[in-house]
Amino acid sequence: MYASLVPTSAEMIRFLPELILTVVATLFMVLDPLLGRQSRHVYGHFSILALLGAMAAAVYVYRDPGAAFSGMLMVDGFATFFRVVVIGVGILTVLPSYRYLDREDAETGEYHALLLFSIVGQCVMVTANELIMIFIGLEISSIASYVLAGYLRDDRRANEAALKYFLLGSFATAFFLYGVALIYGMTGSTNLATVRRAILGGSLGSAPIFIGVAAALMFVGLGFKVSGAPFQIWAPDVYQGAPTPVAAFLSAGPKAAAFAIFLRIFLTAFQPIGPGWEPLVWVSALASMTLGNFAALTQSNIKRLLAYSSIAHAGYVLVALAARSNVGTAAAMFYMAAYAFMNIGAFAVVSHLSGKGERYLKVEDFAGLGAKQPGTAALLSIFLLSLIGVPLTGGFFGKFYIFKAALDSHLVWLTVLGLLNSAVAAYYYLRILVMMYMREPGEAASRIQPLTPGLRAALVLPALGTLVLGIFPGWVLDFAGRSSVFVR
């Protein structure tokens, strides 16, 4: 009876990226107390090697797509796309962390181990094909993220960030889990496809209302994880208090994974009740865009500004979800990839400029950066222009495809309001550009350190990614379009 539970070797190979990351992260834990301080950079190097290996494995296992572990995991195009995105986010987070951890005199082994564990969780989330596995991935990813947010233990803001993130995050996962419990009670299954068949089959009798309740509860949990309004309150405080590379990671990796499961659950299991949840997503998308953009207008702290901007960007992706179409799914996938590049790049510049103890975090501190370090300023300009959505950058095509998908699904008002929102957003990004190029250098720009090789890579790679997605969007979009059919 249980013999069918033994996984075949093909199934184990489909799990290879997660295996690589888990083994290396566990090795870090064992090595950390043994190795001394002089080998503090070893972990970073091995993190990058492990992440590259995992990315190669993720691409390799896509040659033989299919289910694994009794259908709990599903390696398809959709999962592979998001696996590559979250692992890529990991690489782009490790690169600026070398300098950051040296500067703040923090331990490196635990940091990289936690980062890898968090990415393992996200990989599990995006490949999971049923609710319990999604929940386990969500927890692995979240618990490591909570610790990373408070990684600088002596910093009061970091403590506050970690505590807020932990408490609100636990509440959100509880909501999600309650939804899972209701679904299991109603349909007798946690497998997404089976749940969908049960809803379609109409064998639920007098209980379809509970399916709606379950969808609403999961919406609360996932809305928190993607920092969509009205569940966004934690984001500014957490991004401000967390170490800057961690804030970059939080705004890209866990968010991309959360959107992946958002799409998978709502477009697979809850597809039959789509007309029911569409207004919820509609309102949440509009609220996130408006609240994020207008709150960002008045921010003086750059990390809070980027946090509100990330809430607004979550709103754009929710527009793609509200479209409830394959085009919308593909647009959301493309947007998450483009957003990961541009946002991590922007955060890497912030990390570089802020100096020891993150002293320089005001928007005014960017004054004169264009004169003092033209290369850094030019790269930041690319990221900001992409965040605005200027053509030739990934951000432009991301927004373009999202609003095109929304129009295709006749969400005219949401599109109009979204486009107006993008116009508002231009103001606060341009303010930073004006600071950099049209003001005399201030204290922060004068004291800026030269770029280290790690930081240089952390700035140039996302810039390249942003431009490649902006000039040749076709390849990524084709893949996203072909993969989006798996989420149906």
């Binding site: 013999a3 539970l5 033994v6 834990m29 064992v30 950390d32 107390p33 002596d154 007098s206």
Partner: protein, 132 residues
């Protein structure tokens, strides 16, 4: 065979009502029938029969919480052994290898907290925890 939703869950409701009735009955009966003696000794906090000493609101070393947390972690992990033992015969070598992997993971966690000094009670542990 119960047909409607209400019928399916009626036993649950019944159980909840009985549970509440039992609890209310016990409390009510002791309230009505019990003999109440109030004096100084009765009002003292119960400490296993010993006379209470000092206030209960003292500051504890954070080590208590750390050890308590670690204990719960490892305790919960040990529970996995029970379902595993039930299906061990059917899964044979696979189950053995899987549990081996699991134990290795636990042991590496144990090694980590030990070496990091989380279990040391004295000065050495604190020093190792501090930044170098």
């Amino acid at each position: 065979m119960p047909t409607s939703y209400a019928e399916t869950y009626f036993p649950v409701l019944l159980q909840a009502v009985i549970a509440m009735a039992v609890a209310a009955g016990m409390l009510g009966a002791s309230y009505l029938l019990g003999k109440r003696v109030r004096n100084r000794v009765k009002d003292m906090p119960y400490e296993c029969g010993i006379e209470p000493t000092g206030s209960a609101r003292e500051r504890f070393s954070v080590k208590f919480y750390l050890v308590g947390m670690l204990f719960i972690l490892f305790d919960i992990e040990a529970i996995f052994l029970y379902p595993w033992a039930v299906v061990y015969r059917e899964l044979k070598m696979f189950a053995f290898l899987e549990m081996l992997v699991f134990i290795v993971l636990i042991l590496s966690g144990f090694f980590y907290i030990w070496k990091k000094g989380a279990l040391d009670w004295g000065e050495t542990g604190e020093r190792r925890f501090r930044k170098p």
